[in-house]
Every structure is written in structure tokens, then in C-alpha cells.
Amino acid sequence: MPHKGKIHKYGDNIDTDAIIAARYLNMHEPRELAAHCMEDIDADFVQRVKPGDIIVAESNFGCGSSREHAPSAIKASGISCVIGKSFARIFFRNAINTGLPLLESAEAVENIKQGDTVEVDLATGTITNLSSGKTFKAKPYPDFMMEIINAGGLIEHIRKKSVGAR
């Protein structure tokens, strides 16, 4: 099923403290965290965001802390996926593990503006900017990661494997 929504656009090196500030790490329920998502760099993100919306970011999105609270907060805020030029390593793992889809395409990032409406087909990695009519292709995932994504996250992937092995 394609994701469709409005764009919230950010710059380079958006760190996990910006996504969810450490002062909220005394909680870990995704819904509670979502109420403070992006608070320190975009105070009214939480009011603006609608289910299905998409974050577009420049390079190294999610750098900094290993807190899994970051992709959980983004997902629970209603964001359906994140398109970026590149992602920080631990954030990338955490997003795959928790089921927040990430798409890597420098071209898409350059051709999508704040407030555009964009449609994403995850199965093919196709990104369509409905506001401009342009289409882009995200970098495909390695097969190994597709297995985790298709299983619905790392926990499900391991559960399946360990049942098979028993």
C-alpha cells in the first residue's frame, strides 16, 4: 500500500536529541514520546503532523545517541516514512528494527520542498512528488535487510528463524 502525505523538511545532521530530547527519556512508551517529537528544532511539528506525512532530510539523519526512542517517536507521531540523502548508522538499524521505513535518494531530497504532497511505494522504492509530478527511485535494500523488513522487524525475523530451527 502506498504512503501519501505532506512533507516536513529538515537539514543536515538532525541528531537524536533533536528528534526526542533526553529529558523525555524517563519514558519509553511510543505515544508519550511522540508528543515531544522534534520539539527543540520544530516546536509545532506535533500540531502540524497528520497520519501518513513524510519527513525529508538532508545527510546523516538520526546521528548521535543510540536511543531507539527516536524512530519510535517519529513513527508514533504519524510519520509514514523518512526520505534522506543518508542516515546515521545506529538510527538506520533502529528504524529497520522498529518498522519505520527509510528511503535513500539524494535526487528526491533535492526535488521535494516543505509542504509538497508525496506518494511513496515501498515495494518498488518509487517516490512521486504529486506537487510537481516528478518521480524518483530510492536505493534498494540489500537482500539480507529485505528479509528483516518483510518479516516485520528484527524480533519477528528472529522468532521465525528460531521456530524454524527448533
Partner: protein, 417 residues
């Protein structure tokens, strides 16, 4: 093969691995803390495994918001304590604790040649011991706790060579800040960093931990040192088990080799809001400060406290500055006490805290108000990292943080009269 490749090959039962290979690596140590353990525990229960793979290889440390700063933190810490007790894990209560990345090496748990994964991005600190150590999220750690293995992509390695002798006040913190300033916060994205050269050979273990600690600030997956005499002396009488020493081959393949002249590297200061936003101390200008923090998993070790004490001895902290010193562990606190460092700090007008992450991540023990500035020996200066989103953090070494506390503005130790 590089050091990283050799360790990873040995942990996935292969003779050879290369950058880009996906492997399932066996873990020698699996770590989490009071912030990341609650989610790891929840995911572990969802996995449905009755036991952890090996309770002697799983460590939980209450350090971020501990001693508990509020009811919610206390609840999360209790959840971790209960799980650790039930499964018989290695656990350090506040009376014997310290910041996770300070105590794992100190207690001889982190050893050369191991693979260590932790639900904390600064797990890379143990690279100083020739260990492949890397940070991950809580779900990864849940899987590692259950199965003892975790998937990884073998990283390419970038070799950094530091020639020459650094100046008197230039330490590990300055070499790594300079490097991050040069290559950027994504300059080593997905890569292992390997540190070499004359300046590295002469660097003590505490300085090496500082450098490995900040590999993540360049986007790195690990920051590795070769094992040498200094490493072996550090491990003597401390190592809790046997270990294997690996070394990079002379013909190892590096993605890049970057060389610096350490003699030309001054003490560095990273301006807000990125660790790569560095300037040499001579070009900092007049930056007044409200607070100076000396501690953390980056610079909370004994050598760091000694350095701060050298500057603070017989002097007074500026009355407008809150100088907060946090020894990295109870052991370091005790040694600092015996050496008279704590007395120097208190006489100088600094506050000394029980070991905790505390202000480093804006948790407690020194939060900043809007518009306030802090010079800090920690590793991150992101927006809001130490408190209000309109506060500012400047990263520096312990001598600079101490000198700044005395002068009320960011300053090098040579400016202190």
C-alpha cells in the same frame, strides 16, 4: 585484514571477511543502561526466550538518570534492576557504579579481541583496548541477549596517523576533536577508525579511551587502537578472563589513510551545535560562560581529573561560574580522593558529584537555562543537549574546562596566571 576485520572474522567462524560482508557475529559482552534497557527488556520478552544466552556476558548499568532523578527514572531503573536480578546478570548498584564506558574497562570486563555490543552509542569506547565494540539500539540488544549473536555489516576501515609530539596541553580529546573538525560528523559514517602514529604510541590509556569514545561523533562504527605495552600494563591484574590480541596486517586494505602533524594541533574547542564545529583555543575569542562540566565517559577518568587539578590547584573558580566535576566511577572518585584531587576541587570552589551521566545528556546535576553557556568535557553539543534548547555547550579538554572555570570565559590553561 584490518584489526576490525580480523576480530569480526574470528567471531563469525570465517577465515576472512571483507568490508561490506553481512555476518552474524558472536558477542562477548552485551550492554545496556537505565534508559535503553527498559525497551530491550520489553523486546526480549516479546521474543519469547525463557533465558538469556549467558548471564555472565550481559551487563546492565544504572548511570544515565541514576541515582534516580525522578519517579519515572526510578521506575525504569527498577525495571532494569529486577530483570538483572531475575536473570543473574552483571549489574552495578549505585554504590559501586560508574558510567558504563568507564567501568567496563576498569573492572576488566572489556578485553582485547572481543566483540562488544551495547545499547549506547558510546560503546565504541572499548576500541581503545583493541576491542571491536559498537553501539546499537535496544531491539538489537534484546536479540543479542537472547541469542548471543547479532547481524553486522563488516565496515571499511579508515586509518588515521598522528605524527610528531603534541604540545603540553594537547591530549586525546584535542586529537579527536581536531579529526572530527577535519572530516565532519559523517566523515567516518559506517566505517571503523584506526588510530596510529607517534602521538598515539605516547598516549596513555585514558587518552585513548577518550579518542575511541568519540568515533561515533564522526559517524564511525568503531574506533580502534592496536594493543601495545600500555594496553597490557592496563590489563594486568584487571582482566577478568583470557583474551586474544589481534593486529592489523601490514598489507591491510584501508578505505583511506589520513595523516596529521600532532605537533601543530592546539587544544580544540567545538562550538555549538556540532562536535565538528571546532576552533583552536587561540582563535576562540571572548566567550563568557556560566558553567563548566568536567566528567563523562569521554573525560571522567583519573588522568582527566589530574589534569583539571593541575590547573585548579590553589586557584578559585570565577564566582559567576558553576564548576561541576563528576568522577567517572566510584573507583576513580576514591583514587582522586587519596591523591588529594577532590580537596583541590572543593577548595577551588567546584562542586563534586557522585558518578553519573547527569548533565552530559541534560538529565540532572547541572541543567542549563535559556541563554546559558557551558564549557564541557563531554562529547556532544547538540541543540538542547544539556538543557534548554536555547542554551549552548562548548566541548573541550579538562585543562581548558578548568581554566575557563577560573577565568569565567573559554580559555586555555596557559592564560591562567
Amino acid at each position: 585484514m584490518t584489526l576490525a576485520e580480523k576480530i569480526l572474522a574470528a567471531h563469525c567462524g570465517k577465515d576472512k571477511v571483507s568490508a561490506g560482508d553481512f555476518i552474524s557475529a558472536k558477542c562477548d559482552l552485551v550492554l545496556s543502561n537505565d534508559i535503553t534497557a527498559p525497551i530491550a527488556i520489553r523486546e526480549f520478552e516479546r521474543l519469547g526466550f525463557p533465558h538469556v544466552f549467558d548471564p555472565n556476558k550481559i551487563v546492565m548499568v544504572p548511570d544515565h538518570f541514576c541515582p534516580n532523578k525522578d519517579i519515572q527514572s526510578a521506575t525504569q531503573a527498577a525495571m532494569m534492576r529486577e530483570f538483572a536480578g531475575k536473570h543473574g546478570l552483571i549489574y552495578f548498584e549505585v554504590g559501586e557504579m560508574g558510567i558504563e564506558h568507564v567501568i567496563l574497562p576498569e573492572k576488566g570486563l572489556a578485553l582485547p579481541g572481543q566483540v562488544i555490543v551495547g545499547a549506547d552509542s558510546h560503546t565504541c569506547t572499548y576500541g581503545a583496548l583493541g576491542t571491536f565494540a559498537t553501539g546499537m539500539g535496544s531491539t538489537d540488544i534484546a536479540v543479542a541477549m537472547a541469542t548471543g549473536e547479532i547481524w553486522m555489516k563488516v565496515p571499511p576501515t579508515i586509518k588515521f596517523v598522528y605524527h610528531g609530539k603534541p604540545g603540553k596541553w594537547t591530549g586525546g580529546k584535542d586529537l579527536i576533536l581536531y579529526t572530527i573538525g577535519d572530516i565532519g560528523v559523517d566523515g567516518a559514517l559506517y566505517s571503523a577508525m584506526e588510530f596510529h602514529g607517534e602521538a598515539i604510541n605516547n598516549l596513555g590509556m585514558d587518552g585513548r579511551f577518550t579518542m575511541s569514545n568519540m568515533a561515533i561523533e564522526a559517524g564511525g562504527k568503531a574506533g580502534l587502537f592496536q594493543v601495545d605495552g600500555a594496553t597490557l600494563r592496563y590489563l594486568k591484574g584487571r582482566a577478568r578472563g583470557k583474551y586474544t590480541v589481534y593486529a592489523s596486517d601490514v598489507d591491510a586494505e584501508y578505505a583511506r589513510v589520513i595523516e596529521y602533524d600532532a605537533a601543530k594541533i592546539e587544544p580544540q574547542v567545538a562550538f555549538p551545535h556540532l562536535p565538528s564545529n571546532t576552533r583552536p583555543i587561540s582563535l576562540v575569542g571572548n566567550v563568557a560562560i556560566d558553567q563548566s562540566v568536567i566528567g563523562s565517559c569521554t573525560n571522567g577518568r583519573l588522568d582527566d581529573l589530574r589534569l583539571a587539578a593541575r590547573v585548579l590547584k590553589g586557584r578559585k573558580v570565577d564566582p559567576h561560574v558553576r564548576c561541576i566535576i563528576l568522577p567517572g566511577s566510584q573507583q576513580i572518585y576514591l583514587e582522586a580522593l587519596k591523591e588529594g584531587l577532590i580537596e583541590i576541587f572543593i577548595r577551588a570552589g567546584a562542586a563534586v558529584s557522585t558518578p553519573t551521566c547527569g548533565p552530559c545528556l541534560g538529565g540532572h546535576m547541572g541543567i542549563l537555562a535559556a541563554g546559558e553557556r557551558c564549557v564541557s568535557t563531554t562529547n556532544r553539543n547538540f541543540v538542547g543537549r544539556m538543557g534548554h534548547p536555547r542554551s549552548e555547550v562548548y566541548l573541550a579538554n579538562p585543562a581548558v574546562a578548568a581554566a575557563s572555570a577560573i577565568l569565567g570565559r573559554i580559555a586555555g590553561p596557559e592564560e591562567v596566571k
